[in-house]
């Protein structure tokens, strides 16, 4: 990666904020990415294989309970991804670190795919469990709106030429959309109607699902978290390179 041998990099603060420097960030991600890829692969592999092959059927749900290993982690990450984008956007708005804005941009497509997985697995699970693919229950509804927000967020990034303007505007949108991220997580607490499961993963042992399902589920969640991190880190690197290419080309265009 030839960007590291650039010499004219101005001095930046050290500590956490130093990763706001694109070069430093790239170096960092280059170092941790291989480990992240491997770890996430292992966790996903172990968790899904354990869950799919080596857990018993539920006495009520039958084999459909195996869908939990995909549905819950992906739904979790779909919402968490938006919160991560929110934090990154706030950092951009307050401290104007470009890497932060690009990280938010990079996370969106990962978040959409997580949302899609959660929607699909939920629908497939709902057919046998609730007798319908889809119900207009509060959590499902706000989750669907969150999906629309993801689409709008990405479309807004794509539509604006100037990257700083795009970062600012998408940040505002992200802020507004967070309402629905919160709703899709906590709507079940506000309105106690609806078909969808309440919290089954709370730390309170009494409310939890049985251990046989619980441990592989935790491994799967770890796998999804890790793959999300790996993808976002990698994609942020890509965005940085694209921006640098653009900047160099703009400098060329003058000549």
């Amino acid at each position: 990666m030839s960007m590291t041998d650039e010499t004219s990099i101005p001095k930046r603060p050290s500590g956490f904020w130093s990763y706001a420097n694109p070069v430093k960030f790239l170096g960092f991600s280059e170092r941790v990415l291989p480990a992240l890829w491997w770890l996430s692969g292992i966790c996903l592999g172990v968790g899904l294989i354990w869950g799919f092959f080596f857990t018993p059927d539920d006495f009520r749900q039958g084999s459909t309970v195996k869908i939990i290993y995909l549905h819950v982690p992906s739904a979790l990450m779909a919402i968490n991804a938006w919160f991560m984008m929110l934090v990154a956007s706030l950092i951009w708005i307050v401290r104007r670190h470009h890497v932060s804005a690009l990280a938010a941009k990079a996370a969106a497509p990962v978040g959409v795919v997580m949302t899609l997985i959660a929607l699909f697995t939920g629908a497939v699970w709902g057919q046998p469990m609730w007798g319908t693919w889809w119900a207009w229950d509060p959590r499902l509804t706000s989750f669907l709106i969150l999906f629309l927000f993801y689409l709008g967020y990405m479309a807004l990034w794509a539509a604006i030429d100037d990257p700083d303007t795009a970062a600012d505007l998408t940040s505002v949108l992200c802020l507004v959309g967070s309402v629905f991220a919160v709703l899709s997580r906590y709507a079940v607490n506000f309105w106690n109607q609806g078909l969808h499961q309440g919290a089954s993963l709370s730390l309170d042992k009494e409310e939890n699902v049985a251990d046989v399902f619980y441990f592989p589920l935790l491994v799967c969640i770890a796998g999804f978290v890790l793959i999300f991190l790996a993808l976002v880190l990698y994609r942020t690197g890509t965005e940085i390179r694209l921006r640098r290419t653009r900047a160099l080309q703009a400098r060329e265009a003058r000549v």
């Binding site: 960007m3 899904l48 459909t64 997985i117 697995t121 497939v124 993808l231 390179r241 290419t245 160099l248």
Partner: protein, 51 residues
């Protein structure tokens, strides 16, 4: 292969589609990354030569 009973369709399609989506995302991400890397190298080469 565990016996999935009458829900085999549901469980298998959930796993199939989810893994497919995840795989597509990863492949797309890696390809985009590689392309961006190549484009940057090219421009950097050019700008070094010009400088």
């Amino acid at each position: 292969m565990p016996d999935l009973g009458k829900y085999a369709d549901a469980v298998l399609s959930a796993y199939g589609v989810s893994l497919l989506l995840l795989a597509l995302l990863i492949v797309w991400t890696l390809r985009q990354g590689r392309r961006a890397r190549r484009a940057l190298q090219e421009v950097e080469k050019r700008s070094k030569r010009d400088a």
